[in-house]
């Protein structure tokens, strides 16, 4: 079995592993968005973070709709509805207040699932002075709350160790991201997303153990035979049942997602966290600079800078913006990003419950148009 398959299998079995942890008396903390609260804080408190991305289809969506109303983003509806249908292997929930809908969704968890909720208030602008110390204090408080559940205090040493492990995960993901960006790439976008997903479902130690040798294996692969249309994928979190756009682009249409600006992909962990400073402050700094969190941060200058960097690094032929209806922080950025993009830009709205044939048609036509454009450019060069 290849390293990639091992990771995929471990991710598929992660829920069982977390159930065993709970049976052994360990705390498993469900999270929604990787930057907040930082997984390092949870691990340093002796608990295991487990990212909640379950999507149990239309039934779950309906349940979520009942709890949150129909004009709420389908990510929130699906994740909450899935938990109502089939309780996930967690002992409590922790969430950052990164957007209103996530706030309301997490508010509904205790009543809907009976699980305790820990909220981390996240600043939404960097213009007000003192935001880093305020967030660092919020992290300290959160660490104390989780410690009181586990009985393990979050010491500086434990947190620094957790940060080091987190940074090693980031190194692995960054190296894989680079292989995905090669022309032609050695790693598909779908495969990369699988690895990131595994990193969110497993503890850092489990992930690092399984990912050992993965980079070497991928490097030794033959690159793809022909140069595919290179796509940059932008948008909010993808749930587990929501890879339709990725599959349509790569499997059905033969394109390659060579970069992304989603926290389900290359931004799943953000930039390395400083290992030399006060760890709470270092985490707060990292979170406030996180390219995904910068979408809801106002003004969203930093998010647009991250988009420019992604264009520069990935050299895509086109951008696919996959938005979810009612996702305000992201959807409001679609028009400005389109204006910034020097390459063709496709603005899609796809429910987290799955993409339709109409989306496939639009995506196919978009990729064909790019293909034709590239063909003409090559002909003209000759």
């Amino acid at each position: 079995m290849s390293a990639l398959e091992r990771l995929r299998e471990a991710q598929a079995l992660a829920a069982e592993g977390r159930r065993r942890d709970i049976a052994d008396g360990r705390e498993v903390v469900g999270t929604f968005s990787p930057p907040v609260p930082p997984p390092e804080l949870i691990e340093a408190a002796g608990a295991t973070p487990y990212r909640l991305l379950e999507n149990r289809g239309p039934d779950a969506d309906l349940r979520g709709m009942g709890a949150l109303g129909r004009d709420t983003c389908s990510f929130c509806r699906s994740v909450l509805g899935s938990a109502i249908l089939d309780p996930p292997p967690i002992t409590c929930i922790a969430s950052g207040t990164v957007c209103d809908r996530l706030r309301h969704m997490t508010d509904a968890w205790p009543a809907a699932t009976g699980l305790p909720l820990y909220t981390v208030a996240v600043p939404r602008t960097r213009e007000v002075p003192g935001q880093v110390p305020v967030l660092a204090e919020e992290f300290r408080l959160f660490a104390s709350e989780i410690s009181s559940r586990t009985g393990t205090p979050v010491t500086k040493t434990r947190l620094t160790e957790a940060i080091k492990r987190g940074n090693r995960c980031r190194e692995v993901l960054t190296a894989l991201d680079e292989l995905r960006r090669e022309s032609p790439p050695r790693l598909s976008g779908g495969e990369f997303l699988d690895v990131v997903r595994a990193s969110h479902a497993l503890s850092t130690s489990e992930f690092l153990e399984l990912a050992d040798g993965l980079i070497a294996k991928i490097r030794s692969r033959e690159p793809m035979k022909r140069r595919p249309v290179r796509i940059l994928l932008v948008g909010p979190t993808l749930t587990d049942g929501d890879r339709d756009v990725v599959r349509m682009a790569e499997v059905d249409c033969g394109a390659a997602i060579v970069g992304d600006l989603t926290d389900s992909g290359s931004l799943g962990y953000g930039e390395p966290v400083s290992e030399d400073r006060d760890p709470f402050t270092a985490l707060a700094e990292q979170v406030l600079a996180h390219p995904i969190l910068t979408a809801p941060l106002k003004p969203s200058t930093a998010f647009r800078d991250a988009f420019r960097r992604a264009l520069q690094d990935g050299r895509p032929d086109g951008v696919v913006y996959r938005g979810v209806p009612f996702c305000r922080p992201f959807n409001s950025e679609a028009v400005p990003l389109r204006e910034l993009s020097p390459v063709p830009f496709l603005d899609l709205r796809v429910e987290a419950t799955g993409a339709s044939g109409q989306v496939r048609t639009r995506l196919g036509a978009f990729l064909e148009a790019i293909e034709a454009r590239l063909h003409f450019a090559r002909e003209n060069t000759r």
Binding site: L117, A121, T125, S144, K298, F326
Partner: protein, 477 residues
């Protein structure tokens, strides 16, 4: 007890012509500029139709000149902003925060403030989707709250002059407004972003977080008040730099004191509206009174004169037992401000009255305490609806229903808004379980000429019928 009749726009026009011309001519906004012809705002309603407010033709009004003056003052706000600019005053937009920044801002000399947020009324008042279409072109489509109309207004510059500054609050406020603020920022508006920190709810499992409880208010985590005060002090520095004028402590204290008095007047009007046997002020006029608490429609001194008049009117009517409708009108509690004023008019025409409301501006209605003015503003602001959980807002609503003895709750949802939609199921459950009264929720139909949709009319009629039937059952049992 005797019933008053609301009047239509034609009667308003005729009655206006009967008013004493000297009395009308003596009513001005921005009186510190001296009495100028341009600053007369008590005008015949035909003037406001000329501004494009077509919806006025379908509304019904309180016939008293004191109430009509309030209506005129509100409808004149856009014009007033342009006049402020021409007169050398600084025009400042405020977004996403209700009740905190305006009293602080009015401490600066020669400023006026407005809320682009309240532009969500404009498409309904003008019966036009022009602003919404403009917003759609900037990526804020039908899955966004009607506050998106402000995008259209920001990009057209016909609804208010280019502001000298916009202080936009983000954080535990409203994502829709944050998106609008970003569009304004992109369009080159001079923006200043402020943070609203989140107020958390206590829970048995939160053992490390310390909470502070104040009687009659939602509990808050320790340190929140101090953080908010820091943010406001920083606001003075940044706004002072942007406006080119520092602010003095005396002026801050004076401005906060004015808003303290204004809120006391508003509180008394609201109490009388809730408790008088006959409704002493129609729901739309009462809504205008409430929203005066946010920014005094840009002129605190004149706003105070108007509200004093309205209070006098409501007192008189309550004492004399005069009011609108009948004593057995269904008592409704209204959640979320309806952008279409015809909704209020419609329920009042069909045998109901609005006795209590939760319009998401609770923070602007909370009485301001004496003492440190900044702390007083921050303390009141922390009681707000937007910065807390849906459960905390539901508690406020349940308490309001009990206090006003409401028999039913109407939740007018603004489709796609980041608060209304998601909070409705939570509020509905809490109201039904804890207050035991029925709830009707519906999405406010998009702006269109004519009556409100027959679907909404039917649902409201059935709801009121069910409440009356319930009354009968309760009496029997």
């Amino acid at each position: 007890m005797s019933a008053l009749e609301r009047i239509d726009i034609g009667t308003w026009q005729r009655r206006f012509l009967d008013l004493d011309p000297d009395e009308v001519a003596g009513v001005h906004y921005f009186r510190h500029l001296g009495p100028r012809a341009f600053s007369r705002y008590f005008k015949p309603p035909s003037s406001f139709l000329g501004y494009g407010f077509r919806r006025l033709r379908r509304l019904h009004y309180d016939p008293d000149p004191r109430a009509l003056r309030l209506f005129s003052f509100m409808l004149e706000e856009g014009e007033r902003l342009f006049r402020a600019r021409q007169s050398g005053m600084r025009v400042v937009g405020l977004m996403g925060d209700y009740g905190a920044v305006a009293p602080l801002l009015f401490a600066f000399p020669d400023v006026t403030a407005f809320y682009p947020d309240f532009c969500y009324w404009t498409p309904f008042l003008t019966e036009s989707e022009v602003l919404l279409e403009r917003a759609e072109r900037r990526g804020l489509g039908a899955d966004t709250c009607y506050v998106r109309a402000a995008v259209g207004a920001f990009t057209s510059q016909a609804y208010w002059p280019e502001p000298d500054l916009v202080a936009a609050s983000t954080g535990a406020s409203c994502d829709d407004l944050a998106a609008v603020a970003q569009v304004a920022f992109d369009a080159g508006t001079k923006m200043m972003f402020l943070e609203i920190p989140q107020r958390k709810d206590p829970a048995p499992w939160l053992t490390a977080t310390r909470f502070i409880s104040v009687a009659g208010q939602a509990p808050r985590q320790a340190g929140l008040l101090e953080r908010l005060c820091e943010i406001y002090r920083d606001f003075f520095d940044r706004a002072g730099t942007a406006l080119g004028t520092p602010v003095t402590e005396d002026r801050v204290a004076g401005s906060v004191a004015r808003f303290r008095e204004l809120r006391a007047v508003i509180a008394e009007i609201r109490t009388l509206v809730a408790t008088a046997p006959l409704c002493p002020l129609p729901a739309t006029e009462e809504l205008l009174v409430q929203f005066a608490s946010t920014h005094a429609y840009g002129d605190p001194a004149e706003c105070r004169r108007i509200l004093d008049g309205v209070l006098e009117l409501v007192r008189e009517r309550s004492e004399r037992g005069v009011g609108f409708g009948r004593e057995d009108d269904v008592r409704l509690y209204w959640v979320n401000p309806p952008p279409d004023p015809l909704l209020h008019v419609h329920v009042e025409r069909t045998g109901a009255r609005v006795v209590g409301t939760e319009y998401l501006i609770a923070s602007a209605l909370t009485p301001l305490s004496e003492g440190d003015p900044v702390k007083s503003i921050a303390r009141a602001f922390l009681t707000g609806s937007l910065l807390g959980s849906s459960a905390a807002r539901s508690e406020t609503i349940v308490a309001g229903i009990r206090e006003t003895k409401a028999e039913g709750v109407v939740i007018s949802n603004l489709f796609g808004s980041s608060h209304c939609g998601a909070e409705t199921p939570v509020i509905r459950r809490a109201v039904e379980e804890k207050a035991g009264v029925p709830v009707l929720s519906f999405d406010v139909p998009k702006p269109a000429p004519g009556e409100i949709s027959s679907q909404v009319q039917n649902r409201l009629a059935a709801f009121l019928e069910a409440i009356r039937a319930r009354r009968g059952r309760c009496a029997t049992s």
